[in-house]
Amino acid sequence: MSFVKSTAFKYIPILVFAVIIADYFFAIASLGSVAEVLRQFAVVISNIALGLGVISLLRIHGRNVQRRLEGRWQYSIVTIITFVTVFILGTINANGAQYTWAFNHVYTTLQQTMYASTGFFIVSSAYRAFRARNIDAALLLIAGCIVVFTNAPIGEVIWSGFPVIGDWLLGPGQLPGYRVLMLIAGFGTIVYAYRVITGNERGFFGGE
């Protein structure tokens, strides 16, 4: 039992990885069938795992209510009640008027609003944080400002050179930097895969 609890699972990523990679390189019908099944399994597992965040949320807010944490427990009740209400409505009838109303007017609005709130912070950072203290920062700032004026139609009105330089920056100008990042990410993926199949990478299993 100790083997099942502490060791057996370490071999599974290696086996699954080998099947998927072999299917990519070799056109073997039986291997392809196994790979298809494994990919379907991954999709179903990741779908069911969406609920993990929900459980964590309920635990955290449930704990806040249980401990009557000052200034927080009342809001945690709001979170839990909102969650339970909308979940029940959606599970009973996802096309129902009440669930649809909550989805369209509450969720959609709040999702867009929360995402957009970072627009304020980037404005204050413009004055407070973006300082060209050295040549590197100056280069970043100048490139950024040129692209800002390229993206905005007013840039061309101010100076006809902005779109010319900006289009170059948005094309070949930024290409070496991002190409290198992409190459590094690609090599990193292969190295990570090697570490996983040799058993040196176990962080995703959590504490053992």
């Binding site: 990919r39 379907q40 304020f120 203290r133 948005l170 992409m182």
Partner: protein, 275 residues
């Protein structure tokens, strides 16, 4: 205190003043539009040219990855893509990797009423939400029905005539991504099966997608609300994205105006030989 320069005083200015300033600067051109001209970038033109080259009956897969939060950036471009493909007589398959994709689908139908005139199941299908990212895309390339045994509305995939013609990557003329998630289509459909890939990325992804555009892994790219406005101009249907560009102009101008005085003391000190 007596030695404080104007820049020091501006530095200590309550940030709420900046926030209210940005609200005013956004609202003003929305209420009173200016209508500055927009020039079209080659990558947006390449995307549009790809759309207009689609033949009647071609099946196009459209990934509405965008969450409702990226509607201002990408919905305009998706509307143009949909309208153009309908004009070309293409058959459309929509799906999405965001939990609120159904809301985006509803919004698309509000903005493109012609979608409702197409015969559902034959000319257009909405498959709905999927998880699994790359694994799902890889499996869809082989067998769509294994990831979508039914569409978003619960109709079995076998009952949808379009899906019997479009069950694997080789059946598709093109994949269009929206907002994000493009990498899986490039890696799992574009490269192994040669399916042309293009789309609209959020502005932040514009830089990350540039290498794919340069290497030919994607044939076209419209970036952010600017890209959407360019597509609207090419299609001759100015709409929400074009309207937003005036607000983009004013906010971007304010942004640069705020950066310049912040850096003047540094430049001044460097000229004077200080640190």
């Amino acid at each position: 205190m007596a030695n404080q320069t104007i820049f020091d005083r501006l530095d200590k200015l309550d940030r709420r003043i900046y926030y209210w300033l940005i609200v005013i600067v956004i609202a003003w051109p929305l209420v009173s539009p200016i209508g500055l001209p927009i020039t079209v970038k080659p990558s947006s033109r390449a995307l549009y040219d790809g759309l207009t080259a689609v033949q009647e009956g071609d099946v196009v897969l459209i990934d509405i990855f965008m969450s409702v939060s990226t509607w201002p950036e990408c919905m305009g471009g998706l509307v143009v893509e949909t309208n153009t493909l309908i004009d070309r007589g293409a058959r459309l398959v929509y799906l999405g990797n965001s939990v609120d994709v159904s809301r985006s689908w509803e919004r698309l139908n509000e903005l493109v009423p012609r979608l409702g005139t197409l015969e559902y199941g034959t000319d257009v299908v909405f498959l709905g939400y999927y998880t699994g990212a790359d694994a799902a895309a890889s499996q869809m390339a082989v067998d769509m029905s294994s990831i979508f045994p039914a569409d978003h509305f619960g109709t079995p995939i076998d009952d949808l005539p379009l899906m019997s013609d479009a069950n694997s990557a080789s059946d598709y003329a093109m994949v269009l991504f929206t907002a994000e998630g493009e990498v899986k289509w490039i890696q799992q459909w574009g490269e192994p099966y040669g399916v042309p890939v293009a789309g609209m990325g959020i502005a932040m992804k514009g830089s990350a997608l540039a290498p794919y555009l340069a290497s030919g892994d994607i044939f076209g790219l419209a970036v952010g609300v600017r890209g959407a406005a360019e597509l609207e101009k090419l299609a001759g249907m100015p709409a929400a994205a074009t309207t937003t560009m005036d607000a983009i102009s004013s906010t971007h101008l304010l942004f640069v105006i705020l950066i310049v005085p912040a850096n003047l003391p540094i430049i001044y000190n460097k000229i004077k030989g200080g640190s």
